[in-house]
Symmetry: C2
Subunit: 419 residues, 2 copies
């Protein structure tokens, strides 16, 4: 795809979304993004949700520009790379790693000296209500690591997660597939605040995720501002940090290693609720759950109760969307119950796993649930849950072929601009 | 009103509703109703909300019944007095106090030996969503204390509150007017778990209360069951009990003594939020606030922010209704803002204080609030807040004239039955 006969240095990677089951809420260092507690997440499949990034070194032979500089396009729109901002910091950290390698290996091309053109796209709409910063920053770091060939020179995924963390805290967890812990660390410089793999996706591959996209009329408190307000004002947060999360990290890690869904579900739901509890304990209080979120919780609670075991585990981030973790064997049942109470149009319920479940659920299957209280919540109108996204646990960042999948054209500009 | 020439022993009292500003949530002894933390409430005026109770000793001369026994009518319907139940326990405790006095004063009539007929009515509909058990049990105890002439024989209001507590925990606080603490106590027998007056209503008389009655489609978790689930499962509750409430009791008592509304409001709102936070931290979680409750919180938060001081303090019990505490000087402003966003019909907004505020608020006054973000919440449809009740801090139980205000007729049966 190079316009000249010279080598084009570029790389293209995708990175996944992750959804925490032990929540990150609170920074002990807002500049370095060092958290007040460890957290743990499940990485979701890039087959369905991903950020895609291409980065290219702009050398004299690959650019006609007279004053090349770092440039960034997000979903086709150019964004400023503010000096001292998070993206600039990530670029500087990655260049610095490359520079050290170049200094030790004089035969390597001096890629760190060239400006970068970076284009990135998410395949999920903002309206899906999924935080795109984690997958986006993770894709940026994965792509630059590939461009600079860092892995071959001894830079680990955890090292990279340390840099991704500085771009967007939870991005560090998207540097791994499967089940990922972000260890809070103790050092002031954040060197030990990194992501580590608890278990790969292949260890427990049948964990599915149903994302129930719930619209909210009112925009919630941005998480960056919200979490620091909680740190400043919630007495309960301190108890959570010191006395609840450490034990929970141990228990849920064990549950993952033992594929113990009951325990995994119990910890996941309790942690989500406690996260929202400390938000409510904030001055002034922060609300992310609305009446639809609450109805989903009550529905899952009743479904689990009637089943005598956990068939679904809900979790909520800084917004009203529910993410339900479900084992493969229970996906049909859970989908039927959810779609019965929150009916969809076919468009809002694509069925990538070909479950065959109808967008309005199956009354028969729900009725067959002995002891299930059908009146636990009212049946909602279509649109209360705007969309259902069905995905599952997945792997970490992937490398693609820039020639076929890359986002930059021969001129080093986004292909999308040419359209 | 006696049917014979013999003395009729009867008494009629009213008792008030109280709304906690430091919440009671959790029992350390469910039988004696001993709480896990102290609480504090404001007693509301009986001019607007009250329970009215008449109790009469059924002597041979006042009854034609061949087998007189304790009987109880609530709002005109006879209720069983279950043996071993809370009402029976309260009757036994009150009789026991009277018996001691009779034993020491042989000239006194042996009232403790007679069965009782008791009729009680609330002047607020169940639909108002106000807990009637506090005022109801308090009225029962106040009426029996008057009937048995206990006060003249050295029984204090705090002694009586100890008995009311065993009928319904928060009833103990309705034995006093004004600002009332329920001290949790330490003794296993509950002797020191009593209500005490922090300040009488006359100390800070201009505190008004606006009760915004919010309907909820779904019946919430009953508080008796809910609080014990929180005790059993919430890690945050223990922190609240040990490290938050004791200091808050001190601070809010001081705020009341100093009539410091800013501090009073801060503690009131924080405690309400923390109470609902520990409900959310319960397994499975307990929700009492709904989207309308949440909107009221956001409206009050914005109103206080724009005003640069606390003009209103919200608090929520085990349901979606908001109670706003407001100083007299701010009542018009707060009503205007509330009614602007939650318009009422005239029927749902009676105006006992003749404020002259329209049921739909005054756009002018709201617009005159510099810096107030009018878009903080959407303007709701009539009915989102079903009714607004306007009242204020008030005194403790009152004694009425049984002849004119009593609920029992000459036969000792509820007058309402004769209608």
């Amino acid at each position: 795809m190079s316009a000249s006969q010279d080598t084009v240095y570029q790389a293209t990677c995708t990175a996944p979304v992750n959804i925490a089951v032990v929540k990150y809420w609170g920074k002990r260092d807002t500049s370095l993004i060092l958290p007040t507690n460890s957290s743990l997440s499940v990485t979701l499949s890039q087959d369905h949700l991903r950020s895609l990034t291409t980065a290219r070194c702009i050398t004299s032979s690959t650019s006609t520009s007279t004053s090349p500089r770092d440039r960034l396009w997000l979903n086709g729109d150019e964004e400023d790379i503010n000096e001292g901002g998070r993206t600039a910091r990530c670029l500087a950290e990655m260049r610095s790693l490359r520079q050290k390698i170049e200094a030790d290996n004089s035969s390597l091309p001096k890629l760190s000296s060239h400006p970068l053109h970076i284009a990135s796209e998410n395949n999920f709409p903002t309206a899906a209500g999924l935080a795109s910063s984690a997958s986006g920053l993770s894709a940026l770091i994965a792509t630059l690591a590939r461009l600079y060939d860092l892995e071959a020179h001894g830079v680990s995924q955890s090292d990279l997660s340390r840099i991704a963390r500085q771009g967007s805290g939870s991005a560090c967890r998207s540097m791994f597939g499967g089940y990922v812990a972000w260890e809070q660390g103790e050092r002031a410089d954040g060197a030990d605040s990194v992501a580590v793999e608890v278990a790969p996706a292949s260890h427990w591959p049948d964990l599915h995720a149903l994302i129930l996209v719930v619209s909210d009329k009112k925009k919630g408190t941005p998480s960056t501002a919200g979490m620091q307000r909680t740190v400043a004002t919630s007495a309960l947060l301190q108890h959570r940090i010191k006395h609840v999360v450490p034990e929970r990290m141990d228990r849920i890690s064990r549950a993952i290693r033992e594929r113990d869904f009951d325990q995994f579900a119990l910890e996941t739901m309790a942690d989500s609720n406690q996260f929202h509890a400390v938000c409510l304990d904030t001055v002034p209080p922060i609300f992310y759950l609305n009446d639809v979120s609450r109805a989903v919780i009550q529905l899952v609670t009743e479904l689990n109760r009637a089943s005598g075991r956990a068939v679904a585990a809900y979790t909520y981030d800084a917004g009203p969307n529910a993410v339900l973790y479900v084992q493969e064997k229970d996906v049909k049942l859970v989908l039927d119950v959810v779609l019965q109470y929150f009916p969809q149009s076919a468009a809002s319920f694509p069925d990538p796993f070909a479950t065959g479940v109808a967008p309005t659920g199956s009354k028969e299957r729900v009725a067959g649930l002995d002891g299930f209280n059908a009146k636990v919540i009212p049946q909602h109108d279509e649109g209360a849950v705007a969309r259902v996204i069905h995905t599952k646990v997945g792997d970490g960042p992937r490398t693609l072929d820039s020639a076929t999948d890359g986002l930059l054209d021969a001129e080093g500009l986004p292909k999308s601009l040419a359209k």
